[in-house]
């Protein structure tokens, strides 16, 4: 099961979606095709923005670090932050904004507690580099890594309810010891 399949399963038919850090708009296009869910993407990168327009996906060039002032309270059914959380500088305000603007939020991120990452630090003595985290420490856009345990603690602090969680490794769901065996975490949360 892929990340986008998991997200599509969580997005109800016809839901209004907002995809923060939407890349080339592939997910939004997928949600439109599979769920008839109309939506907007937010992206800051010029090349990705152009890719969205070529994909006929609505896209807004805004900086997530500035918050979501462009969007009214509860104007979306679902606000998605797909593999972008780790690249945000101020995560708490953004997560709060997501649940101001949306009824629900879907957040996915590479799990820094994944055993391969742990081994690279513990035994290799260097920052993890993998398919999910392909960067060197000095050129990564990622600034705030976390594990499943860390993210759930933050949700508790912010008073968010975790409605569902799916943990994947190589496209396969992970049931046992997810914080150790999962490379990608997806959460569906509400306020």
């Amino acid at each position: 099961m892929t990340e986008s399949e998991t997200i599509a399963r969580w997005v109800v038919q016809g839901a209004r979606v907002l995809d923060l850090g939407c890349g080339d708009g592939t997910l939004l296009k997928h949600l439109w095709q599979t769920r008839q869910a109309p939506g907007y993407g937010v992206e800051i990168d010029d090349a990705k923005l152009l890719a969205c327009l070529k994909n006929d996906v609505n896209v807004l060039q805004l900086d997530l670090e500035d918050g979501l002032a462009a969007f009214a309270d509860r104007s979306f059914d679902c606000v998605i932050l797909s593999e972008t959380l780790q690249a945000i500088h101020r995560q708490e305000p953004l997560l709060k904004e997501m649940l101001r603007v949306g009824r629900e939020a879907i957040v996915s991120f590479p799990n820094f507690g994944y055993w391969r990452a742990r081994i690279q630090i513990a035994l290799g003595g260097h920052m993890p580099v993998s398919k999910e985290l392909p960067y060197q420490w000095y050129d990564t856009p990622n600034v705030h890594h976390c594990t499943l345990v860390d993210f759930e603690a933050l949700c508790a602090k912010l008073g968010f309810r975790v409605l569902e969680r799916v943990v994947l490794t190589g496209g396969e769901p992970v049931a046992a010891m997810p914080n150790l065996l999962g490379s990608l975490a997806l959460y569906r949360v509400s306020a």
Binding site: L49, L50, L53, D56, N58, V59, L62, A70, A72, S75
Partner: protein, 368 residues
């Protein structure tokens, strides 16, 4: 592309926002490309302050007189005239062929001059709708413009919601700021206090308020460029080898502004300038809704592309984001580009791969 300027005459009176009535009027326009059988590929291009209906191409007898948006509009260009039927038009009150202060007043046979009514963006759009009727276009694939032209593109979506499928709004503002109005007022004062203005009746005196027009244009030009762009282009470079310690031209920027002012005073009409700046000042679609722009856009039906430029301090990106917010509040389909370009307001006229690429992609998605 060889193009031809045309005129359409409308004899049914046009009631203006001010309450005045224009008994009859002409609109100068040009067309590029072919209207398809379904009449579904028409795009109306609206111009800003000093431009005209001559959007693209050159004239058979004057091929070097190339349209003001020729980099954007033409065969294979972002707005591709192989696919779209594009209409350039000169709004009423202007001085490039459509009825305006320099046109004869049917009541007197003499030029309207100071008696030509103050027209608004809404009036321009109402007049353009007559042109659309004349050309047999019920619904535009898109209405597009930059700056003051973008206000017309916005207003089309409000005045005739069912007649616009896409509104392309570039370097726009939903209303002028106090600072914007202040600059316009200085420009108007420059014109009106010129001894050659004669209360707007200068045609019959055989003079032109050239000094006022020059200063108005110089002020305008300052607001079209960013501080950085001006520094980059002119810096503190001197025209002469050493400072003159007098008031002749020392710096390159002074020379540039004087040249722009002189050029402008040769071809632009002072009464037109006054009216266009007033149209800018008055434009505020939210005014009838207690300042609530979202309420104003409730009646819009078009899809929107909004583009702003980060160094534009005349109509800043924050103003475009207000438009985007109002559209999102109304669940309109909208994409928004905030192009990190250094040139200031004038960036909307310049070729930029990101900007032009986006326009090309957007037009490519418009089904015909």
């Amino acid at each position: 592309m060889i193009v031809e300027a045309k005129k359409a005459k409308f004899t049914e009176p046009l009631k203006l926002t001010s309450g005045a009535v224009l008994p009859e009027f002409e609109i100068a326009y040009e067309t590029y490309g072919e209207l398809n059988a379904a009449r579904s590929n028409a795009v109306l291009v609206c111009h800003a302050l000093n431009a005209s209906h001559h959007v693209a191409g050159g004239y058979a007898n004057d091929p070097s007189n190339v349209g003001w948006w020729d980099n954007m509009v033409g065969p294979g260009k972002p707005l591709d005239t192989n696919r779209f039927f594009v209409i350039g038009n000169n709004y009423i009150g202007s001085c490039f062929g459509s009825t305006g202060p320099t046109s004869p007043n049917p009541a007197t046979g003499k030029p309207w001059g100071a008696d030509f009514p103050v027209v608004t963006v809404e009036d321009w759009v109402a007049a353009q709708a007559r042109l659309a009727d004349h050309l047999g276009i019920e619904r535009f694939a898109a209405v597009m413009g930059g700056s003051l032209g973008a206000m017309q593109a916005l207003q089309w979506s409000l005045s005739y919601p069912a007649r616009v499928r896409n509104s392309i709004v570039i370097a726009a503002t939903p209303r002028l700021s106090a600072q914007n109005i202040a600059f316009n007022e200085v420009a108007r004062q420059a014109i009106m206090t010129d001894p050659d203005f004669h209360g707007g009746h200068y045609y019959e005196k055989g003079v032109v308020p050239r000094r006022g027009l020059r200063i108005a244009r110089m002020i305008g030009h300052i607001t079209y460029l960013s501080d950085d762009a001006m520094m980059e282009k002119f810096g503190r470079a001197l025209r002469r080898t050493t400072p003159g310690f007098d008031f002749d031209v020392d710096f390159e920027i002074e020379s540039y502004l004087r040249h722009q002012g002189d050029k402008f005073a040769e071809y632009f009409d002072a009464n037109t300038y006054l009216r266009i700046t007033k149209a800018l000042d008055y434009y505020d679609p939210a005014a009838d809704y207690g300042g609530d722009l979202s309420a104003a856009f409730a009646r819009a039906q078009a899809d929107f592309l909004v583009v702003s430029f980060t160094s534009d301090w005349r109509f800043s990106s924050a103003r475009s984001r207000e438009i985007v917010r109002a559209l999102l509040d109304n669940r309109r389909i909208v994409s928004y580009l905030e192009i990190d370009a250094p040139q200031g307001h004038d960036a909307f006229l310049l070729d930029d791969a990101r900007y032009f690429g986006a326009l090309r992609a957007y037009f490519g998605n418009i089904a015909l």
